[in-house]
Amino acid sequence: MIPPPDCAYLAALCKARAGLRLDTAKTYLIESRLGPVARREGYATPEIFIEALREGAGERAAWAAVEAMIVPEGEFFRDRAVFQRLVEEVIPELVRRRAGQPVRIWSAACGTGQEVYSLAMMLADRPDLARSCELYASDLSERSLEKAQSGLYSQFEVQRGLPARMLVRFFERRGEFFALAPRIRQMVRWRRVNLMDDLSRLGPFDLVLCRNMFPQFEPESLGRVRDHLRAVLAPGGQLLLGLGEERAGDLAPLVPDIGLYAA
């Protein structure tokens, strides 16, 4: 069991580097997430790993610890109706408004890629929209990004939210994994982004997806993240949060039943 002072140290690290809130009461979760990272970094236990972090194990190790505490988005078509509304209403309207200019869509905390690939697969069925849209995806976690870019998912993962008809259309077996078709993977551009950093070099975006991430931030960090996301929105740009998220601050609801806000 990780002792409370070590949990507190880890929580402070997550807050300082990524603005993330870590529930130190859930020691079993912290232990189960940190254990594999500790071993990968060459430490037998999470406790020894944290001791090494305290003594300055280095940037890479510190980020590996922080990244391990993030709960990645891991489901295709999470809240399916949201995707339908995006493709049937929101994106067509953005395309119309942009009048020939590309509509830039950013999955800001993409985790292992299921969200942005869900959108890409739907757009593949709407070439009229797809040719006007650019998809970008980012995450804090290098490991999540690597997995997302690989397009390789386990049998368990492709059964979470992905209809069988889409599985057979867009995936092929590769060993024990299912590999997403290159034409879908190539629709997305990737980069590592810490939402606590200045994001002004990234924008502007017409639609930013940041679903179910706000609850993971410390209250004092969330305002900063909201401001950063707002700053990268193009005029008339829209921000999509998770359903029922209650920490939208002063963002103006546009289509509340799908979590869509204006800057």
């Binding site: 008809r165 599985l167 077996r173």
Partner: protein, 122 residues
Amino acid sequence: MKTCLVVDDSRVIRKVSRRILEDLGFEVAEASDGVEAMAWCSAVTPDLILLDWEMPTMDGLTFLRRLRAEPAGDQPKVVFCTVVNEIERIREALDAGADEYIMKPFDGSIVAGKLDYLGLIA
């Protein structure tokens, strides 16, 4: 209450499936192969059939093709639930009239996700 027929030659899988489906609000009946399932379906049309592929006497794919050829055979939603996990075989099942496909091993969250997609649970 919606009804589901679980067709699987493994008693353990039928038991696990029953537990999951009852938790999701289904009334569950069981058959151990396609022949038993056909007999059951000739008397009652379930809302859902959870169907194994490889079974003695009559396999799942044969059962599905025969079911879909029957009058009202298009009514039940059919979800394959099998160890068969090659893309071509999954496509074959969908082409034969399966509505969804679950690869074993499975758990309650996977079943619930598929049934939600099919509009069988809220």
